[in-house]
Point group: D2
């Protein structure tokens, strides 16, 4: 990607010289996610064009320099199938890292495929190879998890999990997930795995709702068939003994959903906002009715930490069959079909699209 709206270009890169601790991957699959669409649509600021898109990927190790290890001490060797934490460069030394302990707000963090420029190297997954710099946190796929399983979760896997953790499921909670895309699907599954008593989903289109139902979500409605917000609110109240949901997780990208979340949640409940990665406009809300009188807790959820990737990958490995993670992948594309992949994601005709270089 060279600039918003411009056709994608294919460029040849010379084989990188690995610094000590570096790893070279042959790409097996890389994700096409909503952020890639936003990138191409020019919704993100400060992108260091040109970039190689693809922030979450899997690959086979083809070369290592020295003896790189995973965070648990296992050596990474040629032939291993791995993924990696797409964020690197946290300074470990600023207020966010050291005092607030909120490393996702470190100003020095950089992200493969989003905030790294192609002129610096093979730092994105839509490429035949990916260069892992020293210190990039690498994880082998284990316990029978396949590339398809992991990529079925993709970046939605840790994003949804971290939103659920931020919301703090209490055993038995009723949870409404707004949005049926990869983040919403993952949030719904992890809400269940963390003890939710009743998981509801409102989203679309229809095939995504079917995908959720097939994975045991208690009730899921296609927003295309329930267009009236008042009706949706009544539905949530009906499903929650008239109280509203204990926890609402917004994963839509539509600002209006945030106000709606505040009308779905019970007094004293929690709302997590994880779907607003770009600025799609303001909403109006009443500080009295939506916040103060409701005694609500409203939580922004930005990014995820390495531990969210590690823990959610573990969860995926334990539930490969139960939740058919691999089944979320609805289409695969060659590198030269990447424009088509972006288009299909934009119009939501696929749930999860992969680039297979």
């Amino acid at each position: 990607m060279t600039a918003p709206g411009k056709p994608l270009e294919f460029r040849d890169h010379s084989k990188p010289v690995l610094p000590p601790g570096g790893i070279l991957l042959e790409t097996i699959a890389s994700e096409v996610c909503g952020t890639d669409v936003h990138l191409h649509d020019g919704h993100l600021d400060s992108v260091p064009w040109p970039i190689i898109p693809g922030h979450v990927s899997c690959g086979r190790v083809v070369e290592v320099s020295g003896h790189p290890r995973d965070p648990f001490g296992d050596e990474i060797k040629a032939g291993d199938v791995v993924t990696f934490y797409d964020v690197y460069g946290q300074c470990g030394s600023c207020y966010s890292c050291l005092v607030a302990k909120q490393e996702t707000r470190c100003p020095h963090r950089r992200v493969y495929g989003i905030t790294t420029t192609a002129t610096d190297g093979l730092l994105g997954g839509w490429s035949t190879h990916i260069e892992l710099r020293p210190g990039v946190r690498t994880l082998k796929l284990r316990n029978g998890a396949s590339v398809e399983d992991f990529m079925g979760g993709g970046c939605g896997l840790p994003t949804g999990f971290s939103a659920v953790e931020r919301g703090g499921v209490v055993f038995g909670d009723s949870v409404v997930v707004q949005g049926a895309g990869p983040v919403g699907q993952s949030a719904a599954i992890f809400a269940r795995l963390c003890g939710a008593g009743r998981v509801l989903m409102i989203g679309g289109p229809k095939d995504r709702i079917e995908a959720a139902r097939a994975r045991g979500i208690d009730e899921a409605i296609d927003i295309g068939e329930m267009r009236d917000p008042g009706e949706r609110r009544r539905w949530v109240l009906d499903q929650t003994q008239g109280r509203g949901a204990d926890l609402v997780i917004e994963a839509t990208g539509n600002p209006a959903a945030v106000r709606e979340a505040l009308e779905f949640v019970r007094d004293g409940g929690r709302v997590v906002v994880v779907g607003q990665y770009t600025d799609a406009g303001d909403i109006g809300l009443s500080p009295h009715r939506h916040i103060n009188r409701k005694h609500v807790t409203l939580l922004g959820s930005w990014g995820y930490e390495f531990r969210h990737l590690y823990l959610s990958l573990g969860g995926l490995e334990r539930t490969r069959e139960r939740f058919d993670w691999a089944g979320f992948v609805t289409r695969e594309y060659r590198l030269d079909q990447a424009e088509a992949a972006l288009g299909d994601m934009r119009n939501q005709s696929v749930l999860k699209a992969l680039i297979r270089p």
Copy 2:
């Protein structure tokens, strides 16, 4: 008060017959708070007119029925000077009380002076006597705390404290309090007592700012002298090493302050909304910029529990001299001056007004 906007009326009530466990107080002082102004201005719904206003009060026990005790087992006797938790009637049996453990959201709670009707008895403080029903939680003033000390805090004492507790001060936090009324003053003091490193206030009018400064608030600015929101934001950044505040407590009643709070707070910080007790309109905000990307925690704070009254009263007793709580009382009124008291509160010419029947 018989209806919104109507002149106050004085009515004679017959002496109540106390049920077992009941207590009759001779009123020493009762508060005129912002809620009373809102009541009279018709901003609250479902008020059971006529009412006797005055939800937080002190009195001298003149009669008891049986052997009522305070929550710690001490017997309440004639002559004791007491205050009481103005909320009663929580059912102890609903989802809010039993499962969510958020008794302030119990639908059965009633409040002296606000949601109790005068036809049910002397259930408000703007009266020569107050009737405490069995089970109303009564506390003696102890450790040298005078009626003036306690009423200097008034309902702002537990309201401000509960907001601070909800915000969860981390030792050393920078805290911005928006609003210089009784809730704001109390919140600023309790933020300091709970370990805040730097307490800042933005409010008005000028004499309230002076009152805060006199109590050791680190920096307080008169909003009348800094009318530009952008300038206020720059001031907060300047005061917090460019990061924004760790915690912002909104205690203003002005909806616009909530959006401003979200611009004052640092990434990953917390905002408590405690000033929006009536619906004064909607605000616009960006779910992306103000919530999701900020990874912010926004907390509504409605009402307070008995433990907030008990703990904040203990704090007041320990800091009578340090914070000159009694000094917050800027004017006292006889019962027949109650209209004037409402007027003075409405135009903020007093910080804390008392009715002395």
Copy 3:
């Protein structure tokens, strides 16, 4: 039960006169739990002999006085099949209830079948009928849960759940449960339902270990076949990548298990002690090695609140088939076989014993 060690006696009681709000149950089943054995063995102090044992029970409503309701507002009527929270009489007015918010430590609480005397009424389940005093929290069995399902969990259901909640499972945690009795089985299941990644059990005898394995516990060892504590510790380390468990839940009744728990847990991990309901002696431990240097969190877990009963019953209703709760009941006894039931519980030849009057 008239005194420790004495034979059980059968006594006739006259039919109780229900006060308003009272409920009379015909007993369907009542539990024989470890506490009943301890009662009969004289391990509990201050028991108001004679008592009717049986603290957790199910019954059919045969008479109501007035219109009693469950905590969610549903009226309780003749014919309903219900259970109830065995603890009543919390004052709602003491430091524990009001300030510390730890109602299980309220000095006024009383427990059916344990701290209530038979001279006060039918306040225990080993009886043809049970009298529910006004305010006793009553729950209907719903969503297809049978008496056998609920009694399969019995008092271990909320006790195990509250221990898990106290321990605070983090998604993916490795959890060791010590003890394979009803509390241990319940704790293991709820640890899984709350997101544990790996649930291990150490206990006995063999059939209890089989029962755990049949319910999907990852690994369970029969302590009778691994008698050496050092070997057990090595086994736990082997199962947890050499780190020790994130969370250990002690549910054995054997004091030595607490020291062992502190050797099973990883640095910085958590240990919940829920198995020490009577004083079976002191243990020795090193404050340096077991606590300080380990940076451990050690949590006593006494009793359970109504919300634990309510939430764990909901969990049981949702997982009737997955965990075969009813299958934990290994033998049923008539009232006149109660001595035999105590004997079988004492020698652990049954997992869960019921009295069926």
Copy 4:
């Protein structure tokens, strides 16, 4: 120090060659703390003899290599008076660092003056100069804090603060601190600053108790004058309305104090163990009476993070006058008097001893 029990030796070191980012300090003062006594008495394992003792120190920058910065971005320059976080080398990549987020349990951490050998460089404060390796977290003394102020707190400053944070003071809590040494004094002050309602101390000798009283501790007793544990327990109950303390912080080094703490604490309260840095033997306790029935939370507190040093230093800067931190220093010693300093610490004839090279 070359080995346990051996006389201290003075050795000449050549001036270190600083790697990029390194800093050379001229030592102004270094601490003699309890750990140094334990080192010399041979109570610590795995010490890489010989070592230069002195883990917490202040110095003046005499040389820098490159442009080292403090964690907030300020450049460190020659002439600056600084202290530094004595722990370095956390890997940032292990389970403790990345998943559990408990960096004090990272197996790769090393500590100046304790776990670093003199053959590796000037890595301890009992030396004319100290070498700060790249990445050692360096803090300038600010806001008027002097070397004497900071060293008056010494390593007890962050250790006591982290223990208080671990204990989680609730506003109004009654807190008992066991031990009147530097950690206990610091814990008592921070408990107050974090909102404790009543701070009590039990320790000795007499002059340390006087030091605590002079700083406003509510009640402090000299353990030499109250030798009977039963009497101490009654005293704590008397001071806490018969309930026991909400929070007990053990900072003594005496294992028996841990059992006593469990008898001082109220049901449902918290105990922090921060005084057991070496193994001084086992204690006996009853899992039933001391842990389970008490519903207690017992928390080991090992080491401190950089943020504890940073936040406690900020607290010290704000309270220099109120708590007379500098006044804790009771004696200063030249390098050649270090043996005498160890002796005085061992027999507790000084509260805080400094080496002034």
